[in-house]
Symmetry: C2
Subunit: 594 residues, 2 copies
């Protein structure tokens, strides 16, 4: 198994150098979140993940979860690791202090999620789903429900799960059939079957709190009739003690390509007691709060696995000797040279690095705006920040998981045949990373969210939160000679994005099929420009610092930025051409001819 | 499991319409290979693969090969299927009639390989490796060895394996340590350990004939001292009867990401009796004959799995209802519409289709030239054909396996969460397809072969066999109005390829690191142009025939060609930019900074 080491230096770079840590500390309630505190938390988190979670990653994959008579057992070591995880307080970071949380900014939690995903992707899903459930409960549930459920969820004693998908509907939740019968006391009895429920049943916690999309008897058809319910696996008394079994059972777990240590369950509700979360028929809205938290987290899973694959590939490229360097000055005394000398191997490593470090910067940017959207006092500034997060959520989810899968595959390729066998753990990264492109809305759905909802929302208002900073920065640097290998190509790619956006705004309005046909390529074009902007900013810092005390680190930043600009950003041209070609060739293809 | 159906119509299109079947029939020894005979063989092969091999694909993956005390068992049903396979004569198609083969052109065998790879990728590796071994024996072994081994190998009673890799060397075979001690009677005793030996041990045949790279005691260092030996698992008498065990044993089999039904073995040689194949120290040359046969076969594996994934995805897109069509005229009466109506789903399907049908045409073209190179009487024409095959082999291997993996992943994506679970078989395609990018020389090695060996060979002579037909065709169609949406973009992409080639020829000569750094992107650029050329030719046929009896088929050809030109071929611009950026940003990256 590749030996993962937390990229503290790069996390610090993003948090303290690329983004302004003062912005974070200036937020209400964050006065004590000093840069030193943040780094101390991350250091401790890194140590925990390296020492406790990483050693269980491969064994967890080999052993997998098991199902026996409705009970799900996690792999050996997971219970103990989870106990240590909650004892160390890692589930409490950003929960509200009112319910036992530390009230830290989400920014810190998102960095923690990267580290967990690198060390043990499957493990991270258990606390990860709880986070999403807590977000929805905190925002929409009434005071009594919050008081009854949140403290133990934030403490990690109870976990959460999101029950959306049914066998006949995933993307199209308007078809949900699970029923919720109202009772005289205001509670509901839920019946129905949900599938693909991550962490829906397991042995890590004494209770599992399901958030369930369901339909009341008189509900309107489609998504307008969907409501969200809280349904505990074990009933809970008002004093938060456990009462007795609820009508919730696990019917089976799925055999999957990867994330074997994460349980993916069929959950059956049979007159299970539940409570409405939020307003009747407003379930989709509440679900999206939970879902958006998860979508950012899933994007970060892609980042985490990309980092782990990168580290594994670099280690192998240093130690595996094979073939001779073209350049005699790189040749060693041995029978062959480390494969790190070969240009094509360096190309692979730098591709992974350019994606991973670029995506870390993107995640940091979005995380900072998320905290600003939740904490700023000025309503207009809050709204601006929220607009940015809404815009970027599908980009983070889709692009960062695509990059994670790509990086995992490149990492495996660096190992050659040794990557395809299980022993080295590289093929596990590929299998685990693959789910992130699918769950929480496939990446195609993310692209449709971007072009169909986020671009047109409020006449393009969201978009300004991204376009304006990029535009200002390009103008600011237009005559900066030190930026001359970055500014013009970014300006060119940004111009393509602007034109593609204008085209979509015009054509997509008239004919949604045009937007649908362009969506995936448009999202990638968008993401490449976002990374280009961030890489240019990072190069600027690198150029400024490259003769200082940490010269090697900063020179590598500049070099990776150059690689990104020379080798990856040019893809914007092909994506632009694909968008502008329109969807006619797809839509006119005759159904019978497929 | 998706229900695979042999694409006979498209195989016929490639063979009878795109390529001239008269060329094949005009070759010496092929006078009786009529188009009807070819199609009858393919029909029968398709039936066999659909009925006998496909049903074992998923069960073979689940059960896998097992290892017990040196014995390897293939999954349930494989022995019986293999027996039927050889009884039906499928291993004998292109072997020499002198040794019991049917002497058919390799073209037919390559189409058979596509069908087998679609139906059961793992199964195909057993006869596939035998093919490669037979090629080398037929070309390099002396008459006695041929007589003793080929008849039973061609009949499929004995299988073949290629023993190249050792734990410390795969790509760099100059480091091979396996020893061959010469004996007084001209035979050798081999000792050493080989790994990653596909079909190195199994229970399908009574004997396994290993072709082993090894080093004699006085051999020069490096690849110049490598020789090729034939080493049977069971010794064989002159009359082809089995004698007794040889010093060949299987130490273990690998746990892999996929191709679980194919055994991947550690093979130990302990004073095992063997014979030299070809000249002493000429092992690499003989090995490359075998390897090139395999490289084409591996490219075709990518094609086969892409076709299977495409068919699975189309079936699901027709039956899965989810969401509403944007266009009211496509809406059904049900609660939702089949996902085939969604532009992004069609984009995914057409991407798979454009790669798969394009690659089928490419495989057909290369296969035809392979037969011409082996059978034409005019030495210059033979050489030209051989040049073309040599040039295209790394392109076929790398690009077609990359497309196979991409198609498998797209197919899985169409299924959403249902693709990630094992039940539907889509994730198996991804796991199986992944090996093809790695074995028989990683795709990075293929790219280096193209730029480092094939381009410079004989001052660019190989290249003319590809550039000239493309150039002539572009000139011929320059003023053809029916081709106006194809000719200019292909001319543009071809221009990029020409410039990139000239740049590589100049810079790569001076500094091999420039060639190495550009290789992967150059290979893909090359392949996109090759597919562009073939898609334009296919579009031309489609346009000519689209009002005839099979209008739907030909209209689909034209539409898929349009999709390829609008959506995929523009990638040539980004690849060109990456090549021309040079390798400086990679080579100047400091080793310690990785």
């Amino acid at each position: 198994m590749p030996n993962y080491s937390t990229p503290l230096r790069d996390l610090r770079f993003v948090y303290r150098e690329l983004l302004d840590p003062g912005v974070m500390q200036g937020l209400p309630g964050c006065e004590e979140v000093t840069p030193d505190l943040v780094m101390a938390i991350l250091e401790e988190a890194g140590r925990f993940c390296e020492e406790r979670l990483q050693p269980l990653n491969r064994s967890g994959d080999e052993e997998g979860c098991s199902f026996d008579g409705g009970r799900v057992s996690t792999p050996t070591g997971f219970r103990e690791a989870y106990r240590q995880f909650i004892e160390a307080g890692w589930t409490t970071l950003y929960g509200s202090p009112e319910y036992g949380g530390q009230g830290l900014p989400k920014f810190i939690n998102m960095m923690l999620e990267e580290i967990i995903s690198s060390a043990n992707f499957s493990f991270g899903l258990y606390p990860g789903l709880t986070n999403g459930a807590c977000s929805a409960i905190e925002r929409y549930a009434d005071a009594a429900l919050k008081q009854r459920f949140l403290p133990n969820m934030i403490a990690g004693k109870w976990s959460g799960a999101m029950c959306l998908t049914e066998p006949h509907c995933g993307t199209d939740l308007g078809m949900v059939r699970t029923r919720a019968e109202p009772q005289a006391d205001g509670s509901y009895l839920l019946s129905g079957s949900k599938m693909f429920i991550t962490a829906g049943e397991h042995d890590l916690t004494e209770n599992i709190i399901h958030l369930v999309l369901a339909r009341t008897p008189d509900a309107p058809r489609g998504t307008q009739g969907i409501s969200l319910f809280l349904v505990p696996k074990i009933k809970v008394n008002d004093d938060q003690t456990l009462s007795g079994a609820n009508g919730v059972s696990c019917g089976s777990i799925e055999e999957k390509m990867g994330i074997h240590a994460s349980s993916t369950c069929v959950i059956n509700f049979d007159n299970a007691l539940g409570w409405l979360v939020g307003e009747l028929y407003q379930g989709m809205e509440a679900m999206f709060v939970m879902m958006n938290t998860e979508r950012l987290a899933v994007g970060i899973q892609g980042l985490g696995i990309g980092e782990a694959a990168y580290q594994g590939a670099v280690a192998y490229a240093r130690e595996r000797v094979q073939g001779r360097a073209f350049d005699a000055s790189r040749q060693t005394e041995g029978e062959a040279d480390p494969i790190l000398v070969h240009p094509d191997v360096r190309r692979m490593l730098l591709t992974m690095r350019a994606y991973t470090e670029g995506n870390r910067a993107l995640a940091g940017w979005v995380a900072r705006e998320l905290d600003r959207s939740l904490r700023l006092e000025d309503p207009r500034a809050r709204r601006d920040a929220a607009d940015f997060v809404a815009l970027m959520t599908p980009v983070v989810k889709a692009f960062m998981t695509d990059c994670g899968f790509e990086a995992a595959n490149i990492g495996m390729q660096v190992y050659g045949g040794h990557g395809y066998i299980r022993e080295h753990g590289m093929e596990q990264f590929v299998r685990d990373a693959r789910i992130a492109q699918i769950y929480e809305g496939t990446n195609g759905i993310q692209a449709l969210d971007l072009v169909g909802r986020k671009l047109p929302a409020h006449a393009g208002r969201y978009l300004r939160q991204f376009f304006h900073p990029v535009q200002y920065y390009l103008q600011e640097k237009a005559n900066d000679v030190s930026m001359q290998s970055f500014q013009p190509p970014l300006a060119k790619a940004f111009g393509r994005l602007q034109r593609a956006t204008a085209w979509l705004a015009q054509r997509g309005m008239q004919n949604p099929e045009e937007a649908g046909g362009a969506a995936s390529e448009y999202l990638r074009l968008f993401a490449l420009v976002a990374l280009g902007y961030l890489w240019m900013r990072m190069a600027e810092i690198g150029i400024r610092e490259r003769d200082g005390a940490e010269a090697l680190f900063y020179r590598a930043k500049v070099a990776t930025a150059s690689f990104y600009f020379e080798r990856i950003l040019p893809q914007s041209g092909a994506l632009f051409a694909a968008v502008m070609a329109g969807s006619k060739c797809m839509m006119s293809f005759e159904d019978d001819a497929f």
